[in-house]
C-alpha cells in the first residue's frame, strides 16, 4: 500500500511539474463552455431574405412589412426578375426569396386565393425548412386577421405545453452537450498518453521491474486525473448554473456523483487507448480522431438520435457520452432521481469496469 501511495505521488509530481499543461487543462474548458454556451444555437434569427414582388400592391406591402418586422428575417434586398435569384443564391448571403405572383391583391379579392412562392436555398435543409415554416406561420396569422369576420365552426384547438424548457432555449440542449464533450475529451486525452509516454521515454522498464502489479499501475495512473477532472467538472457545473442559468431541478449530489462516474469511465477509456498504442502520437490520434467526431455526432449533443438510421442508433449505444447526456438532462432539467436513471448509470458503470479490465489485460508486463 505504501508503495502504491508513493506511485500516486510520483504521478501527481509529473502533472504539477508541467505548469503549461495544467494551465491549458483548466483554462480551455472554461473558455470553451463560455464561448459555446453563448454562441451555439440552432434557433434561427435574422436570416437575410430577398423579395421578388411582381404586383407591388397594398397587400404585398403589408405582408413584406410583417415579415421584416419579425425577428426571424431581415429583408436584405428587392430583386426585379427571376434570373436574379440564381445570382444572389450563388453569392451565398441570401437564404430565401419570397416571390409574389402578379396581381396578388386582385386575385385575393376576386378568387379569395393568391399564391406566394417561398424559394429557399436548401443546401442547408434545416434552415430552408425552418424559413418556410416561419413564413407560413406569419401568413397564417395574417389570414386570421383578414378572416376575422368569418367564424369557423367545429374547431379543435391544440393547447400546447412545452415542458422542461418552456421558452425553447437552445442553451438547455447545448450546455449539457458541451459539458459532456469537454469532460470526455479532456479526460481521455490526458490519460491516453500516460502509459505510452513512459514507453516512449524509456521509463517503462523501471515500472516493470518494480513490484507494482498492473492493476496498481493503472489505478495509480488514473487517480490524479480523477482529482483534476472533478475540479474541471465542478467549474463547468458552476458556470452553467450561474452564467447560463441552467436549472438543477434534481439533486446536486446525484449530479456530482454521476459526473464522477462519467469522468472515471472517460479516463479508463484513455488508459485503454494508451495500453494498446505504441507511441504517444498514435495514442493522441486515436483519442482525438477516433473520439472527437463520434462523440459530437452520435451522443445526441446536436442531432437527435431517434432520427438516425437504425444501425447508427445501435452504434450510439456504445458511446458513453450518450448515456451521460441523458443522465444530466434528466437530473438538471426534468428533476428526476436515481430511480429514473439507474439503467443509464448501470451502463456507464459497466463500461468503466470493462475499460479498466481490458486495460489490465492489455498491459504488457514484458518488453518487446
Amino acid at each position: 500500500m505504501k508503495r502504491f501511495i508513493g506511485f500516486i505521488k510520483k504521478e501527481f509530481y509529473h502533472i504539477f511539474r508541467d505548469r503549461r499543461s495544467l494551465f491549458i487543462l483548466f483554462g480551455m474548458p472554461i473558455a470553451q463552455i463560455l464561448l459555446f454556451g453563448f454562441a451555439i444555437t440552432n434557433e434561427i434569427n435574422n436570416v437575410d431574405i430577398a423579395i421578388l414582388d411582381h404586383s407591388k400592391d397594398a397587400t404585398t406591402e403589408e405582408i413584406i412589412n410583417k415579415i421584416s418586422a419579425s425577428k426571424y428575417f431581415s429583408v436584405n434586398q428587392f430583386i426585379e426578375k427571376e434570373s436574379d435569384i440564381e445570382t444572389i443564391f450563388k453569392k451565398g448571403k441570401v437564404k430565401a426569396v419570397l416571390n409574389f405572383e402578379k396581381d396578388f391583391s386582385k386575385n385575393l379579392i376576386k378568387d379569395h386565393n393568391a399564391t406566394l412562392q417561398i424559394i429557399t436555398d436548401a443546401t442547408d435543409p434545416n434552415t430552408a425548412n425552418t424559413i418556410s415554416n416561419f413564413v407560413n406561420a406569419i401568413l397564417t396569422q395574417y389570414q386570421k386577421e383578414l378572416n376575422k369576420d368569418i367564424t369557423i365552426e367545429y374547431q379543435i384547438v391544440p393547447r400546447t405545453r412545452m415542458v422542461y424548457n418552456p421558452e425553447l432555449k437552445s442553451v438547455y440542449m447545448f450546455v449539457p452537450g458541451v459539458m459532456t464533450i469537454i469532460l470526455m475529451l479532456v479526460s481521455a486525452m490526458m490519460t491516453s498518453i500516460s502509459i505510452t509516454r513512459e514507453k516512449e521515454l524509456g521509463t517503462m522498464e523501471i515500472l516493470l521491474v518494480s513490484p507494482l502489479k498492473p492493476l496498481q499501475v493503472i489505478i495509480g495512473k488514473v487517480f490524479p486525473y480523477i482529482f483534476l477532472s472533478i475540479i474541471n467538472a465542478l467549474v463547468i457545473i458552476v458556470l452553467s448554473i450561474f452564467i447560463f442559468k441552467m436549472p438543477v431541478q434534481g439533486s446536486l449530489v446525484l449530479l456530482g456523483l454521476e459526473s464522477i462516474l462519467f469522468i472515471i469511465s472517460a479516463l479508463a477509456l484513455g488508459i485503454l487507448i494508451s495500453t494498446i498504442s505504441a507511441t504517444q502520437q498514435t495514442a493522441m490520434m486515436i483519442s482525438l480522431m477516433g473520439l472527437m467526431l463520434p462523440v459530437i455526432l452520435l451522443s445526441g449533443f446536436i442531432f437527435p438520435i431517434s432520427s438516425m438510421p437504425i444501425p447508427l442508433q445501435v452504434i450510439s449505444n456504445i458511446i458513453p457520452a450518450k448515456w451521460f447526456i441523458i443522465i444530466i438532462k434528466g437530473i438538471m432539467l426534468k428533476g428526476v432521481g436515481l430511480q429514473y436513471v439507474w439503467k443509464e448509470t448501470l451502463i456507464l458503470f459497466g463500461m468503466t469496469v470493462f475499460f479498466i479490465g481490458l486495460s489490465v489485460k492489455k498491459y504488457k508486463i514484458r518488453l518487446e
Binding site: N45, T115, Q117, Q143, L293, P294
Partner: protein, 373 residues
C-alpha cells in the same frame, strides 16, 4: 532543392514505418465520413408519441388514428392515467403526449369549439418546435373534415380568404441532409488530420531529442519547414480526393461546380492549417501540450464553422470571431462550389482571405522556429 527532397523522403519513410498510425491516417477518416454522415440530420421523425383518451368516442378515436397514421410519429402508447404518462415522460419514453379530456365529443358538438391538451418534451427546443408544427398540421387537417365526416353537417360557409404558399427548395429538393453534411464532414476530417499531424511533428523531434541533430546540420529553416510540411499537404489532398469519390459514389452528392476550383482552394487551405500546426509545434515542449492546444482550436473551429449550427444565429461578437475561423471558409466554399456551382468570382472573398491567412500563419511559423536555443 535536393535537401528538401531528402527531408521529404525521410518524413514519408517515418510515416509509413509507423504501422500503428497508418490506419488512423488513411482508414479512420474515411470510415468516419461514411458512417457519421448518416448521423447528422436535424430531421425530426420517429417521434415517441403517447395519448390519454378519457373520452373513448368515435371522434377521439378518429383523432388518435390520424396521429398513428402520420409517418412522423412512432407507434403510440395508450396511457390509462396521467400519472403513468408523466412517469413515462420523465423516463424519456414519450416525447409528445396528447390528452383528450372527458366529454370531448359532446362538448365539441355543443359548443362547436374545443381544446386539446398537448404536452411536448422541449429540452431539444428546435425539435419541440417542429413537433408542434406536425401536431398543429394534423389537427388542422382533422378540423377540415370534422364537420362533414363526423357530424354530417353540410358545408355552406362563406369561403375564407386563403394565401397559398408554395415552398420551393432549390439545390436540394428532397431536403436531403447528406448532401449538406458530407462536404462539411469531409472538410473536418481533412483539417483534423493535417492539423494534428503537423502540430505533433516538430515537437515530437524536440521531445525525443532528434531536433538537435537536425539543427546542427546546414539545413536552412525554410527548407526544413517545407520538407516537413509537404508530406502532410499530400496526405490532406489525398484524403480530399478519396472523400470526394466517396461523396459522389456512396452518397450521390451532386458535384455541380468545378473540381479544379475546389482543388485550388483546398491546396491553399491546407497551407493555412499546416501553418497553424507548425506554429503550435514551435511554442510547445511536449506532444501532450501541442495536442491540447490543437484540440482546443479544433473544437472551437468545428463548432463555430456553421457546419452544424448556422452562423447567422450567433450573437454579433461571435459572428465576428468566426471571421478568424479557417474551417468556416472551407465549409462555405465546398458547399457553394459542390452544391450550387458557384464560380471563381463567387468564392473570391473566401479565397483571398484564405490566401492572406496562409501567408500570415506560415510567416509566423517560420519566424518562430528557432534553430538555436
Amino acid at each position: 532543392m535536393k535537401i528538401i527532397l531528402y527531408i521529404i523522403q525521410k518524413e514519408f519513410k517515418q510515416i509509413f514505418r509507423n504501422k500503428g498510425m497508418l490506419p488512423i491516417i488513411f482508414v479512420l477518416p474515411l470510415l468516419q465520413l461514411i458512417i457519421l454522415s448518416n448521423a447528422a440530420t436535424f430531421e425530426v421523425k420517429n417521434i415517441k408519441f403517447g395519448y390519454i383518451d378519457s373520452d373513448h368516442t368515435s371522434t377521439s378515436r378518429a383523432l388518435i388514428e390520424k396521429f398513428n397514421a402520420s409517418t412522423y410519429f412512432e407507434v403510440s402508447t395508450d396511457f390509462p392515467s396521467e400519472q403513468l404518462a408523466s412517469a413515462a415522460m420523465l423516463k424519456g419514453e414519450v416525447d409528445v403526449l396528447l390528452e383528450i379530456p372527458n366529454y370531448f365529443e359532446r362538448d365539441l358538438q355543443k359548443e362547436k369549439h374545443n381544446n386539446l391538451g398537448i404536452t411536448i418534451n422541449a429540452i431539444d427546443g428546435a425539435a419541440a418546435g417542429v413537433e408542434n408544427v406536425y401536431v398543429t398540421q394534423i389537427v388542422q387537417r382533422f378540423n377540415k373534415n370534422l364537420k362533414v365526416d363526423l357530424f354530417q353537417v353540410s358545408d355552406k360557409q362563406i369561403q375564407p380568404i386563403n394565401i397559398e404558399t408554395v415552398p420551393l427548395f432549390w439545390y436540394n429538393e428532397t431536403l436531403n441532409y447528406k448532401t449538406f453534411m458530407v462536404p462539411g464532414i469531409l472538410v473536418l476530417l481533412v483539417t483534423m488530420i493535417t492539423l494534428f499531424l503537423s502540430g505533433m511533428n516538430i515537437v515530437r523531434e524536440k521531445e525525443i531529442g532528434t531536433l538537435e541533430q537536425i539543427n546542427v546540420t546546414p539545413i536552412r529553416k525554410s527548407q526544413f519547414i517545407i520538407g516537413k510540411l509537404f508530406p502532410f499537404w499530400v496526405i490532406g489532398m489525398g484524403i480530399l480526393t478519396v472523400g470526394l469519390i466517396i461523396a459522389r459514389v456512396i452518397f450521390n452528392v451532386p458535384i455541380v461546380g468545378s473540381l479544379p476550383l475546389m482543388y485550388l482552394y483546398t491546396s491553399i487551405y491546407i497551407l493555412v492549417i499546416l501553418g497553424i500546426g507548425l506554429f503550435i509545434s514551435n511554442f510547445t515542449d511536449t506532444q501532450q501540450q501541442a495536442m491540447f492546444i490543437a484540440w482546443f482550436f479544433t473544437v472551437i473551429f468545428i463548432l463555430m464553422s456553421g457546419l452544424f449550427t448556422p452562423i447567422e444565429s450567433m450573437p454579433e461578437w461571435a459572428q465576428i470571431l468566426t471571421e478568424f475561423n479557417p474551417i468556416k471558409y472551407f465549409v462555405e466554399v465546398m458547399r457553394m462550389v459542390m452544391l450550387k456551382g458557384s464560380g471563381f468570382m463567387d468564392i473570391l472573398p473566401q479565397l483571398s482571405k484564405t490566401i492572406l491567412y496562409a501567408f500570415i500563419m506560415n510567416g509566423l511559423a517560420i519566424w518562430s522556429y528557432k534553430k538555436t536555443n
